[in-house]
């Protein structure tokens, strides 16, 4: 890694973040709201990307980590009257703990078996949220009233229900995770993860503890996914068991594939485009998923590496 390339990379990502921040002032209301939501979901996708894109762990169960963050934050607020900060922390810690436990068991398998085991754990989580409908209100979900969604700071508090704060909180989380991912993939740990994805047996015979590295990758991935879930709960005031369903395990996979696996900006690009694709399609036809399906088939046929992956291959080789 040379100095100039490092600076160029950092400059590009900071410029991208500055652009996102500037959009707050110019976007019309509707798109402003969409972008806040997309940024939170893109955090989920970035978390997924660390496991799937960089480490090569195709999990079909990441909904459980997102939902662990979602419920970890929403339940204490709803039932125990906690304030937002400790609830957010609870959500993130819940995701971390769940990721470590699930990964420790699921990583004993690989490939298709890993997909199935993660899927099963996630289904168990989903059914658990339904089983405890008394507390979770199941599909209907918990709605967090506006007056409890307030973030306390020394010197005052801000309401998370206002569109502007929502945008900025989403942006801060998104920027932090983006810069963290950037640092991670350029670190020795990140390079080791990519090498494990490419040739696991070789890495083992270079003295790397492959299991521990994968476990750490899953822990980071699950924690970021949970952070997205926790933020979603407090920003949008809703936690329903739909977020624990298989759909929310497949979506981050699609976002990452569309945007480009193992790229830093890909998850955001994928999440954004998919959101507008579904949004636009559903305003014209009820068969909106058909449009999405066709788009994905075209993507796999012509851009198997996703948007950012193709850009990297063809034009910008230094893109992380």
């Amino acid at each position: 890694m040379t100095g100039p390339a490092n600076r160029k990379t950092l400059a590009l990502h900071l410029a991208f973040l500055a652009g996102l921040a500037a959009l707050d002032f110019v976007l019309p209301d509707y798109h402003h709201g969409v972008l806040a939501r997309v940024m939170v979901l893109a955090v989920f996708a970035m978390g997924y990307n660390i496991a799937f894109g960089y480490t090569g762990l195709l999990s079909l169960g990441h909904a459980m980590f997102f939902a662990a963050g979602l419920y970890g934050a929403a339940l204490p607020i709803y039932h125990l009257g906690w304030s937002v900060w400790p609830s957010l922390a609870t959500g993130v810690v819940a995701g971390l703990a769940l990721a470590v436990i699930v990964a420790a068991l699921a990583l004993r398998t690989a490939g298709v078996a890993f997909m199935i085991v993660t899927l099963m754990f996630s289904q168990v989580f989903h059914l658990t949220t339904l089983y405890f409908t008394t507390y979770t209100r199941g599909e209907e979900g918990l709605v967090l009233p506006q007056n409890v969604r307030r973030l306390a700071f020394p010197g005052g508090e801000i309401s998370l229900a206002s569109a502007d704060t929502r945008y900025w909180i989403a942006f801060i989380l998104f920027a932090a995770v983006l810069l963290f991912t950037l640092a991670l993939v350029r670190s020795r740990f990140g390079r080791a993860l990519v090498a494990i994805r490419e040739n696991e047996e070789r890495m083992r015979m270079l003295g790397y503890d492959v299991f521990a590295s994968k476990l750490a990758a899953m822990a980071v991935s699950g924690t970021i996914s949970a952070a997205a879930g926790a933020a979603y709960a407090v920003l949008f005031g809703y936690a329903g068991s739909g977020f624990a369903s298989i759909q929310y395990s497949i979506l981050p996979l699609l976002w990452v594939l569309l945007g480009g696996a193992a790229t830093v900006l890909g998850p955001f690009a994928g999440t954004l485009i998919m959101f507008y694709l579904i949004d636009t399609a559903s305003s014209h036809t009820t068969a909106n998923l058909l449009v999405v399906g066709v788009a994905l088939i075209l993507l796999i046929l012509y851009f198997p590496k996703g948007i950012m992956g193709t850009i990297r291959d063809k034009w910008v080789r230094w893109l992380p």
């Binding site: 020795r188 080791a192 490419e198 070789r202 015979m205 270079l206 503890d209």
Partner: protein, 232 residues
């Protein structure tokens, strides 16, 4: 001479066939030992047991006085047992330098060690090329360079000259002579020229057992070895 590695009654079966069958084996520090034998004799399984790629069924392995029989492979590597793969196993999408750096990265001195090792094996001039684009002979050298970058006490080479040209084999022999000054070498090899030129001692395996062991001269004149090889 001190003993570097010892196996006692080392055994491993695959589906009823004893690939390695009660092998007692001793390797002294500083030697170049060749392991030869017909196909299916159990050579690769035997070294895989030593480096931990295949779990031991019974028996034990002692490395530098320490029982490593049940140690996972990556910990054995950290103790100084390096294995280079029979089938070239490098990272084709990374450059030569990045490949070798991965070997030193765990200990945090990758840049320096990659430069040293690449100079030693004569790949420094193509360090920035993509490993997957290299000629086969050079890829084999990358494989060996990754082993060397681990700074091993014991370097296990599994058929390193397979598929190399005559000139490349010559270069390989002088490289291994150089490496052997600081490292013990266990070499599985079919090319008898390489074996006879390099090995201090030779171990012959057949059907999972050690058939004979001795200096190159002793092995050359051994009746049982000739039979195993020629089927006479």
């Amino acid at each position: 001479m001190t003993v570097l590695l010892e196996t006692r009654k080392l055994t491993r079966s695959f589906g009823g066939i004893r690939a390695v069958d009660g092998v007692d084996f001793t390797l002294e520090a500083g030697e170049i030992r060749a392991l030869i034998g017909p196909n299916g004799a159990g050579k690769t399984t035997f070294v895989s047991l030593i480096c931990g790629r295949v779990p031991v069924e019974s028996g034990s392995i002692i490395f530098e006085g320490r029982d490593i029989t049940h140690l996972p492979a990556h910990k054995r590597v950290r103790l100084g047992i390096a294995y280079t793969f029979q089938i070239t196993s490098i990272f084709p999408n990374l450059t030569v330098r990045e490949n070798v750096e991965l070997a030193g990265m765990r200990e945090g001195h990758e840049a320096q060690i990659a430069l040293d090792v690449l100079t030693r094996v004569g790949l420094a001039h193509i360090a920035e090329q993509k490993a997957g684009d290299l000629a086969y002979g050079h890829q084999r050298l990358v494989e060996i360079a990754m082993g060397l970058a681990l700074n091993p006490r014991l370097l296990i080479l599994d058929e390193p000259t397979q598929g190399l040209s005559t000139a490349e084999v010559e270069a390989f022999i002088s490289l291994i002579r150089q490496v052997a000054k600081s490292t013990t070498i266990l070499l599985i090899e079919h090319n008898m020229q390489v074996v006879m030129e390099l090995a201090h001692r030779i171990t012959v395996m057949e059907r999972g057992r050690i058939l004979a062991e001795g200096t190159p001269e002793e092995i050359r004149s051994n009746q049982a070895v000739q039979q195993a090889y020629l089927g006479a």
